[in-house]
């Protein structure tokens, strides 16, 4: 995370939060990659957060998965992430920083839509079972919406390449 990405300057050295985030992002992406095609190989993914306004881990996953696809790495599916949460007793999609700090609850979810597989799930805050169910379903809906945008972004790149060639 860049030092200027948050209100109080953050040291550029990885904090404990950053280390945990790296771990969960890695574990969210891992199931999508055919790692068995890459024995004795490391695939490094670097994410830099330039400005944080809530939902950084979700945006990181969505972007990193696209970057992997762009790199031509064989994948089972794209991974897309989106969070839902509770702000003032209402379940809402994609909390921003000020809503998150109100302290309802935040449920980030990462999904491989074609396989209906959740590859990241975290939560903090307080939710009843019904609220949790609602939040997960809402987050999944958000994921599916961003998934279509992800696919468009990938297609758009190759369409523009095609145009140049023509």
């Amino acid at each position: 995370m860049a030092p200027f990405s948050v209100q109080e300057r953050k040291s550029p050295a990885p904090s404990r939060r950053d280390i945990e985030l790296s771990k969960v992002i890695r574990e969210a992406l891992e199931p999508s990659i055919f790692l068995e095609y890459y024995p004795r190989t490391g695939i490094d993914v670097f994410v830099e957060i330039l400005q944080a306004d809530g939902g950084t881990r979700c945006a990181s996953i969505t972007a990193a998965s696209l970057a992997l696809a762009d790199a031509g790495i064989p994948m089972r599916d794209l991974v897309v992430a989106c969070a839902a949460g509770k702000a003032d007793d209402t379940i809402v999609l994609d909390l921003m920083d000020t809503e998150d700090k109100k302290g309802g609850a935040d449920v980030p979810v990462a999904l491989m839509p074609n396989l209906n597989a959740i590859t990241l799930l975290q939560m903090d805050g307080i939710l009843t079972f019904e609220e949790f169910e609602k939040a997960v379903n809402l987050a999944l809906k958000g994921c599916r919406k961003i998934y279509t945008m992800q696919k468009e972004a990938l297609k758009a790149k190759y369409e523009s390449v095609k145009e140049v060639e023509e």
Partner: protein, 263 residues
Amino acid sequence: MSSIIVRVKQKQIMDLIAEGKRLDGRGLKDYREIKVEQGLIERAEGSARVLLGKTEIMAGTKIEIGKPFLDTPNEGVLTVNAELVPLASPTFEAGPPKEDSIELARVVDRGIRESKAIDLKKLCIKPGKKVFVIFVDVYVLNHDGNLIDASALAALAALLNTKMLNYEIEEDEVKIKPGYTPLHVRKHPIAITFAKINDKLIVDPWLEEEQTMDARLTMTIDDDENVCAIQKGGSGYFTPKQVLEAAKTAMEKADEIRKKLKW
């Protein structure tokens, strides 16, 4: 080293789970025996040792007077730290904390913090200047799987056992008075961890099951059947149905453990 043994056993573990059985004879939703002892370390403000089967955790609390964070001037500070000591497992090494111990500490921390078990506002001495800082240090003494649940129990048991310093403010100075009062713990968050093996969910995985599992899911449940923290780990995935099933089971299991420990 142990992974070779596990590779031989993995198939057996998976086949048994498909039949609804486990290698150590437990049912899929059974916990190992839980033992909690409190107040073993006299130098600590609070301490507890938890045995979950052969997994063994010692947690201790220390309280100091320090400065609050800038964004929460009228709240005390709670920090949880976890140490995976080399004697606990051949895979643990000495040195600065790695991501596994950081994740463990942060998941335990999230359960206590989000359930609002400790009223941080009550730990404020002078807003913006002086607050109590509670350090919870979790030491893993033996690793036989499911460190998260055992550590969460140990941290909570240590907090329940913690004595607070008495103090008064005299001419802007904090004066420590003799005697102690117990730390007020409002909630009892219980972490319940699932492992996904052979597309089935089991609770409280022990070491060899952890080495076999595709993914793990921890849900921390408070006294009122609310979910207060979740963490998925491992490089596998869960279906939405499995997640909701896990939440239901976690609520039942947390209730069961809370009753057993009389918390």
